[in-house]
Amino acid sequence: MDVSEVLLPGVGLRYEFTNHEGHLIGVVARRTGDFEVVVYGDDDSDEAWPVFRLNEEEAETLAQILGAPRIAERFADLTREVPGLESGRVELPAGSVYADRPLGHTRARTRTGASVVAIVRGEEVIASPGPQEVLRAGDVLVVIGTDRGITDVVRLLRG
């Protein structure tokens, strides 16, 4: 799905996308952490119709309800501070040898230099998991490291 991003200087960002019903939906993410959700009319798409506003906590809750954990985004803020550091989300494929085995068995940190900082399992988020944390197929691992390191983790988990 295409999400376009427009800079609002001094205020934040505006995201917009068209949903399956053809409604053009906009989200203003303000620097303050507040969000504003709008829809654009059919006849004059320049003017937004405000739907509702959310503060940071409410947006977090809504995001969790919608099942799209925003944890990777929060790490993205961190990676912006350190040049060369990236964050990525890696899904554990169904046929992986590490499914139903503890995280420690992957030895991901030693072998790739990248760290698994969270595991997203359905609607649950396990922040900074220990080596004994058992992985399940379909888990999404939030990984922080170099670009190379993250690619290596993807390759590792596939095996």
Partner: protein, 390 residues
């Protein structure tokens, strides 16, 4: 310790009055700035409500207010947003500068001001109030509109222009021979460039100097450094405001965001004090003679801002109604016109009452016109959400 009951009482009553007036203004989605000016005017010498004890505090507070206003402006400034705005809206910025600075300059010339006075008035009519406008767009729920990026880009570019303009003005105000002034201007511009380069290349190192997980530490460090730099800038006749702006510029990223949040309430308090002090410095008797000039200037530069906004929005390819909204949004003038007067008022007695009246008119008219321009959302007047008619 001796406690001056008179000072506390006067100050308390002033703050209570400001809060009541501010709440009234906010209810109508208006800026409280004009009401703060009016409060100052009502408290001035020869008025019915003199404030002998609080006067000294207001004067000291005003100079901290101007420093904090500029510090906050610098903190909010982001190189990334600036370059993004540059990419699209350089022609808009040129149109903005020509259309809005020239009427002020002409008015200054007709009023018989000297070169510095002309420059100050040109600046005062040029700079829209990013504070009033950004808040207004949020309050009217217009941030998501397609014309808003153009409006906000123009504001960012104006703020950048202020970075070059304020030090030049400050140096010229302090006088001296032409070569002293010229040298001062070069030094001031050099300092601004150095600050930009620093913030671009070593921003996070400077950030580390002030950064601290404890908010209290962060505030003390930031304020301490800012006031010292502001004092140094004042000492070399480059204006404390400019020094504070430079400090704000060099702090970037998350430290800047946190710092902005930490000083926000302090800035609001002292900025209010600054606006009151400007009102206080104007003698009510000086106002009637300058009113016609201020009103005429307001009408002309209101119209030129509308043209500017329409032009900027048309570059983003939006429709007629959106262009009208962008034009109206830019009308409001506010804090920075007053800051300019704060710098240049000393040698030009006509400037303070003229610009105070001018800002008073446009800070009220701008938001009102914006509210009723180019919208189909009738219930926007109640500030509530609406549904598209489909």
């Amino acid at each position: 310790m001796h406690v001056s009951a008179a000072l506390l009482l006067e100050l308390g009553l002033i703050l209570v009055a400001l809060s009541v007036l501010g709440a009234m203004a906010r209810r109508l989605t208006l800026s409280p700035v004009p009401l703060y000016l009016l409060t100052g005017l009502a408290l001035g010498e020869g008025s019915a409500l003199p404030v002998p004890a609080a006067g000294e505090f207001l004067r000291v507070g005003a100079s901290i207010g101007i420093v904090l206003l500029l510090l906050a402006l610098g903190l909010e400034f982001s190189i990334g947003e600036f370059t993004a705005s540059m990419r699209r809206h350089v022609p808009s910025a040129v149109v903005d500068l020509v259309l809005n600075a020239v009427p002020g300059a002409v008015a200054g010339w007709l009023l018989g001001l000297d070169g510095v006075g002309v420059l100050a008035l040109a600046g005062a009519t040029y700079i829209s109030s990013s504070g009033i406008i950004a808040r207004l767009l949020g309050d009217l729920r217009r941030l998501a509109n397609r014309e808003s990026p153009a409006v906000l880009s123009v504001l960012v570019l104006e703020d950048f222009a202020m970075a070059a303009y304020l030090p030049v003005l400050a140096v010229l105000v302090s006088g001296g021979t032409w070569w002293q002034a010229g040298l001062g201007v070069l030094v001031a511009l050099g300092a601004v460039l150095a600050a930009f380069a620093t913030s671009y290349r070593w921003g996070h190192h400077v950030g580390r100097l002030v950064a601290h997980p404890d908010d209290e530490q962060l505030m003390l460090r930031l304020l301490g450094i800012t006031l010292v730099v502001a004092a140094l800038a004042e000492y070399i006749h480059a204006s404390a405001a400019v020094g504070a702006f430079l400090v704000g510029l060099t702090v970037t990223g998350q430290t800047a965001e946190r710092a902005g949040a930490v000083i926000a309430s302090l800035r609001d308090l002292f900025a209010a004090v600054f606006f009151v002090a400007i009102g206080l410095s104007v003698d009510a008797g000086e106002l009637p003679p300058v009113l016609p000039a201020a009103a005429l200037l307001a009408v002309v530069t209101g119209a030129t801002k509308v043209v500017t906004g329409r032009y900027a929005a048309s570059r983003d390819g939006v429709g007629a109604r959106a262009r009208a909204r962008a034009g109206a949004a830019l009308i409001a003038r506010g804090e920075f016109s007053i800051v300019i007067v704060g710098l240049a008022a000393a040698g030009h007695p006509v400037l303070a009452p003229l610009v105070a009246a001018y800002v008073f008119i446009l800070a009220i008219a701008g938001p009102l016109i914006t509210r009723f321009t180019g919208t189909r959302r009738v219930d926007a007047l109640r500030g509530g959400g609406a549904r598209p008619s489909r």
